[in-house]
């Protein structure tokens, strides 16, 4: 079985934004850092940062909990994947938890198997940088469960990605959640809450649905995707206040001031995980801008996700 490559302190060359800079709540220092020569920036990146955790868990690794490699139907997929890694290098992101979705949903078994094979290839092409999520359509129960066992068990994928084929409270999803519990891996679930019906995503899940699923399966580790691109983020944060086994992914293109601060204040900083979902400067900038301590930012940037990934049972 391949071992998940969750490697603390991954050494990254060519990094432009150092961890210390990334953690600064004031951009005054950030601007100063950005003006320095790359060698100085890298040197700063390698400075030990005091750990928020105890024991062997180091929290220096910055983990994007929500990323995507490119579907191979795009002719530029290889270059696009390289751009993602280059962007991560520039922004000081050590590891990216990636999935590939089918261009059209609902995904067929052949479609999601193909995507996961390409994700596995990506894990090999970018060792130590790309971690795999297994994407499935729960509607194909047997095939979906087999695919999760193959990806998590044999390929070392770190979690499961579910999209919008079914609302997460529909019974067809439950076997997937039960298998995730058995394997000890998180589920990153697409979610959004708009105050109108989203015609093209009729089975969209929202924070309320995820809270309901979390109550049904308190052992599950659920990640509510992109609070900063999933509609009314204040609604979502409040809906998840009392769902202790749901983590909030900060990704998305929306950069509304106060989002990360409110998430940390309402659900607790231990349940907030950093993500970009391809909105790279938005993702990193939100964390930098949040009025939180460096210790709290360390948790959000990687410490919390690291803890989740280390609950793996196999």
């Amino acid at each position: 079985m391949a071992v998940p490559q969750v490697m603390p302190g991954t050494h990254i060359h060519m990094r432009r934004i150092s961890r210390r800079t990334l953690l600064k709540s004031s951009a005054a220092a950030a601007a100063a850092m950005a003006m320095r020569a790359p060698a100085s920036a890298r040197q700063a990146a390698e400075q030990p940062v005091h750990s928020a955790s105890s024991g062997p868990l180091r929290t220096e690794t910055v983990i994007d909990c929500h990323a995507h490699l490119t579907h191979h139907s795009r002719s530029a997929w290889e270059a696009d994947d390289r751009k993602l890694i280059n962007a991560a290098d520039k922004l000081g992101i050590d590891q990216l938890c990636c999935s590939i979705l089918t261009p059209r949903r609902p995904a067929t078994p052949d479609g999601f198997r193909e995507c996961n094979q390409w994700t596995a290839d990506g894990v090999q092409r970018f060792p130590g940088r790309v971690l795999g999520y297994c994407y499935v359509n729960p509607g194909y129960g047997r095939e979906a469960l087999e695919e999760i066992r193959r990806c998590v068990g044999d390929r070392g994928f770190v979690g499961i990605k579910l999209y919008n084929e079914y609302t997460c409270t529909e019974p067809v999803v439950f076997p997937i959640v039960e298998l995730a519990i058995e394997l000890g891996v998180p589920i990153l679930h697409h979610a959004s809450h708009s105050h109108y019906f989203v015609d093209d995503q009729p089975r969209m899940s929202d924070g309320g649905h995820l809270a309901e699923l979390a109550r049904r399966y308190p052992e599950a580790m659920l990640i509510c995707a992109h609070i900063s691109g999933g509609g009314d983020w204040e609604w979502t944060i409040k809906a998840l206040r009392n769902a202790p086994n749901v983590w909030l992914d900060t990704s998305g293109s929306v950069t509304d001031e106060g989002t990360v601060d409110m998430a940390a204040a309402v659900v607790g900083v231990d349940r907030v995980v950093f993500g970009c979902d391809s909105s790279m400067t938005a993702g990193v900038g939100k964390i930098r801008g949040a009025d939180l301590s460096a210790q709290d930012k360390e948790k959000i940037l990687g410490g919390n996700m690291m803890k989740l990934l280390r609950r793996r049972r196999s």
């Binding site: 005054a28 601007a31 950005a34 509304d256 909105s279 801008g289």
Partner: protein
């Protein structure tokens, strides 16, 4: 010098804003090393009588005119807008406008809007247009307000070649004539970067290549937005230092006649 052409003060009807008083915004600007900011009233977006928002803004920033540059929100379909424009410029010393056609329920192609643009241009005022205020997916149940399509902006800049436009909170320019120097459009607009990508698709870099570094200006959208993502774009952008300096503040200073 960093000049933010896209900032706000006051309350917004649908979400609590922080850093939305003069003192708090100045403190945020100091923390981020932003020297000057163009500010408008966030309340004026939803006030029926936008001039009340302009009055609040001018009173709020009275002792900080060296850092905060007020722009007025004017609705050309509201009674007395000509008086408001005159008062804003002659009494309040305001040098530019911010227009909200979708929120104020008019079209940029309406003759009344054309009158406002012409009147402001004759007064030497710049005209900024946010292409959206907040993400559509999070809009209140009371609202159904679309972003301004770039096609409507194209027609506007063509119709008013002598005007000076600032396009805020937009993206997708590289797929529009607005994003190309050779498109035949007048050079009467600059594009603010807060929603442009600086990595992956790198629309910001593409705009610098296709339209020119002289036509891109820095803006954050604060305090609606964290200012950091916009600052970060300039940090990671692969561009000459001279071009970055233009974008940080030189272009805005020229466009705003600071």
């Amino acid at each position: 010098m960093i000049v933010d052409v896209n900032a706000y003060l006051g309350h917004f009807a649908f979400r609590q804003l922080r850093h939305n008083t003069t003192d708090l915004l100045i403190a945020l600007m100091d923390a981020k090393r932003i020297d000057k900011a163009v500010v408008t009233s966030a309340a004026a977006i939803t006030y029926r009588n936008a001039q009340a928002g302009n009055e609040e803004l001018v009173a709020e920033i009275k002792s900080h005119r060296d850092r905060l540059i007020p722009f007025a929100v004017i609705n050309p379909f509201y009674a007395g807008w000509q008086d408001d424009l005159k008062i804003c410029q002659e009494d309040f010393g305001i040098t530019g406008l911010r227009l909200y056609p979708k929120w104020h329920n008019y079209q940029l192609s309406d003759p009344q809007c054309g009158e406002l643009v012409n009147a402001a241009t004759e007064r030497g005022m710049a005209i900024s247009i946010p292409l959206h205020v907040e993400d559509n997916r999070q809009q209140s149940w009371l609202l159904n307000i679309p972003d301004i399509p770039l096609e409507e902006i194209v027609e506007l800049v063509k119709a008013h070649p002598k005007a000076r436009f600032l396009l805020l909170n937009g993206l997708g320019y590289t797929r529009s004539p607005l994003g190309r120097k050779d498109s035949g459009l007048p050079s009467n607009y600059v594009i603010e970067l807060s929603r442009l990508s600086a990595v992956l698709a790198n629309e910001l870099g593409q705009l610098i290549a296709d339209l020119g570094a002289d036509r891109v200006v820095f803006g954050t959208g604060m305090p609606f937005n964290y200012p950091d993502p916009a600052l970060l774009k300039l940090e990671v952008l692969d561009a000459a230092d001279a071009d970055k300096e233009k974008i940080r503040g030189q272009n805005a200073a020229r466009w705003l006649r600071l």
